[in-house]
Amino acid sequence: MSDVFDIFLLEAVLNGLLLGGLLALLSLGLNLIFGVIDVVWICYAELIMCGMYCVYYLHVQYHWPLLLAMLAAIGVVAFLGYVLHQFVIRPVLSAEPINQLLVTGGVLFFLQAAATLAFGIEFRNLGVALPSVQLGEMSFSGARLVAFGVALGGVIGLYFLLTRTYLGTAIRAISQDRSIMPLMGVDPAKIFALTSAIGGGLAGLAACLLVLQYDVHPAIGLSFGPITFLICVLGGLGNMLGGFIAAFIFAQFIAVGGFFFAVEWGYVIAFIFFIAVMFWRPRGIFGK
C-alpha cells in the first residue's frame, strides 16, 4: 500500500518539476521587463493569450504547419510587446509608478474583451496531442516534457543573450543605472523598445507551449496571470534567477498540494505561502 502511495507522490513531484519549467518560462519575460524598464505588465498573460489564438488560427483555420504557425505567433507577440511599450508605457514612464501598473491593467481589460468580441467565448483546442511518456508505473504528459525542455532552452538562451552580446550588455547596464547610460552612448528608448519586443517574444514562446496543453479562451489570462506575477515577486522582481527558482517552488506546492487535496487547494497553499514569504522577505526570497 505504501509503495503505491509513494510512486504516485513521486509522480506528483516530477509533474510539479515539469510544471515548474513552464512557470519559469512564463515569469522570464515579465521579469526581464521589470528588471530593465521597471514596469509590471499586468496584461502579460493576455499577451500570451493572443499568441495562443495566433497559433490556433494559423494552424487550424489556415492550415499552416504547426512550427511555422508557432514562429509566426512569437513574431506577432513580440510586435505586440513593442507596440504596448511605444504607445502605452512610454507616455506614462515619467508618471507615478502605480500608474504604469494600472495602465497595463486597462490593456488587460481591452485584450480580454477584444478576444471575446473577435473569437467568442468558446474553448478552442488545437487538436494536437503529443503522446504521453511512460516511466515505470508513472506517466508524464509529452507536452509538458517538451515545455520543460524549451523553457530550459529559453532560460539558457536569454542568459547568453544578456551576457555575451552587445545588446545584452547594454540591457544589463541600463537596468543598473538608468541615468548614466545615455552619457555612455546608449539610447535608453531604443533599449526599452527592444527589451519589450524580447519580453513579448518570450510571452509568444510561452503561448506556443501552453497551447499544446490547454484550450484557448478569452479568460485564460486570468488563470495564468496572477501566478506569474506572484512567482516574479517571490523571486524578487527583476531577479531572473530568483524567479526561475521561485517557479519550481510554486509548482511543487501546486502539484503536491493538489496530490493530497484538490487542485484548488494546491493553489491556495501556494498563494498563502507567497503571502507569508512576503512578510518574511518583503523584496522576495532572492531580492536585494
Binding site: V40, V88, P91, V92, A95, P97, I98, N99, L101, L102, V103, G105, G106, V107, L108, F109, F110, L111, Q112, A113, A114, T116, L117, I121, P218, L222, G225, P226, F229, L230, V233, L237, F261, A262, E264, W265, Y267, V268, F271, I272, F274, I275, M278, F279, P282, R283
Partner: protein, 304 residues
C-alpha cells in the same frame, strides 16, 4: 419602472463599494485585494443562512469580524515591513485570489464556481422578510443602498477632516519623513485599511442580498478587484463623488451599448472601456470628475 430603478440601485451600490476602495486608494494604498472582503461579506452571510438558518443580521457581524481579522492579518505585516506600491498591489492580489480559490474549492458547501442562491424566505406572496434581509420590492433596496451610499460619503468626509488623513497623505508622499516626525505609519495605515475593508464587506453583503445569487467570480478574485480599481480611476479617486461617477459611467456605458447593439457584440462595452481606461490613465489621471472640476476651476481664473 423596474429597469431604471435597478440601474439606480446598482449605481449607488457600486458607488458605495468604489467609495470604500478609494478611502485607501487615494492615499497611496492601491489594493487589488478588495474582492476578498466583498467575497467574505457575500459568502459568509449566504452560507450561514443556508446551512444554519442564521439570520443575515447576525451573519453580517460574523462577516465583519472575519473581514477585520483578514485586514489586520494581511495589513499589519504589510505596513510593518513597508510593503508599498507594486508589492502591496501584488500581495493584495494574492489575497483576492486566495478568497476566490477557497470559495471555489469548498464546493460541497458553497456550490463552487456554479455559485449559490440564498434559500428564499419570501413564502406565499410575502414581499418582505426582514429577518432574512430579503425584499422583493426594488423601492426598499433603493432606500437601503442610498442610505449606505450616503454613509460612505459621510465616512469619506470624516476621514478627510481628520488628522489621520493628513498623516496618511504625508506617508503616501514620503514614508520615512512621515515616520521621522512622529507619525505612527503602521497604525495610521491599518486604521484606514480596516475601515475600508469593513465597508467593502458590507457592500458584498448588500450585493448578495439584492441579487439573491453569489458566484466566486463575481464577488471575489482578481476580476472584481480590478473592476473596483478601474471604476474609481475612470471616475476620479481624489474627489468625493468621483467613485460614484465612475460607477455610473461604467454601468451606463455597458447598458447604453447593450441598448444600441442588443446582445450581438457581447464584450463591446468592456473593449471600449479598456481603451478608455488606458487613455484616462495616460491623459486624464484624475478621472472624469477630477478633470471636469479642474476645467471648471480654471475658467474663472483665465478671465481678466
Amino acid at each position: 419602472m423596474n429597469y431604471p430603478l435597478h440601474l439606480a440601485i446598482l449605481v449607488l451600490l457600486w458607488g458605495y463599494i468604489y467609495t470604500s476602495w478609494s478611502l485607501m486608494g487615494r492615499l497611496g494604498l492601491v489594493s487589488f485585494g478588495h474582492g476578498a472582503f466583498m467575497g467574505i461579506g457575500a459568502y459568509t452571510v449566504v452560507m450561514l443562512w443556508n446551512s444554519y438558518s442564521l439570520s443575515p443580521w447576525i451573519g453580517a457581524f460574523v462577516a465583519l469580524a472575519l473581514s477585520a481579522m483578514v485586514a489586520v492579518v494581511i495589513g499589519y505585516p504589510c505596513f510593518r515591513f513597508r510593503i508599498v506600491g507594486h508589492y502591496f498591489a501584488l500581495v493584495t492580489l494574492a489575497l483576492s485570489e486566495v478568497a476566490r480559490l477557497i470559495i471555489t474549492a469548498a464546493r460541497d458547501t458553497t456550490g463552487g464556481s456554479l455559485g449559490a442562491t440564498p434559500v428564499t424566505a419570501l413564502h406565499q406572496g410575502n414581499t418582505m422578510a426582514f429577518g432574512a434581509l430579503q425584499f422583493a420590492g426594488k423601492e426598499i433596496w433603493l432606500v437601503i443602498v442610498f442610505a449606505f451610499w450616503l454613509l460612505g460619503l459621510w465616512v469619506w468626509r470624516m476621514v478627510d477632516r481628520s488628522m489621520g488623513r493628513l498623516a496618511l497623505q504625508a506617508i503616501s508622499e514620503e514614508e520615512e519623513a512621515a515616520a521621522s516626525i512622529g507619525i505612527h505609519v503602521t497604525r495610521a495605515k491599518l486604521r484606514i485599511t480596516i475601515i475600508s475593508a469593513l465597508m467593502t464587506c458590507v457592500g458584498g453583503i448588500l450585493y448578495a442580498q439584492y441579487q439573491l445569487y453569489v458566484n466566486p467570480d463575481t464577488v471575489s478574485g482578481i476580476a472584481i478587484s480590478l473592476q473596483m480599481v478601474f471604476g474609481v480611476i475612470a471616475g476620479g479617486m481624489f474627489v468625493m463623488l468621483g467613485p460614484t461617477v465612475g460607477a455610473a459611467f461604467t454601468l451606463l456605458l455597458a447598458e447604453g451599448l447593450r441598448l444600441a447593439f442588443g446582445n450581438r457584440y457581447p464584450a463591446l462595452d468592456t473593449t471600449i472601456y479598456g481603451v478608455m481606461l488606458v487613455l484616462f490613465i495616460i491623459y486624464m489621471p484624475k478621472g472624469i470628475l477630477g478633470a471636469a472640476l479642474d476645467a471648471f476651476r480654471r475658467k474663472p481664473q483665465s478671465a481678466p
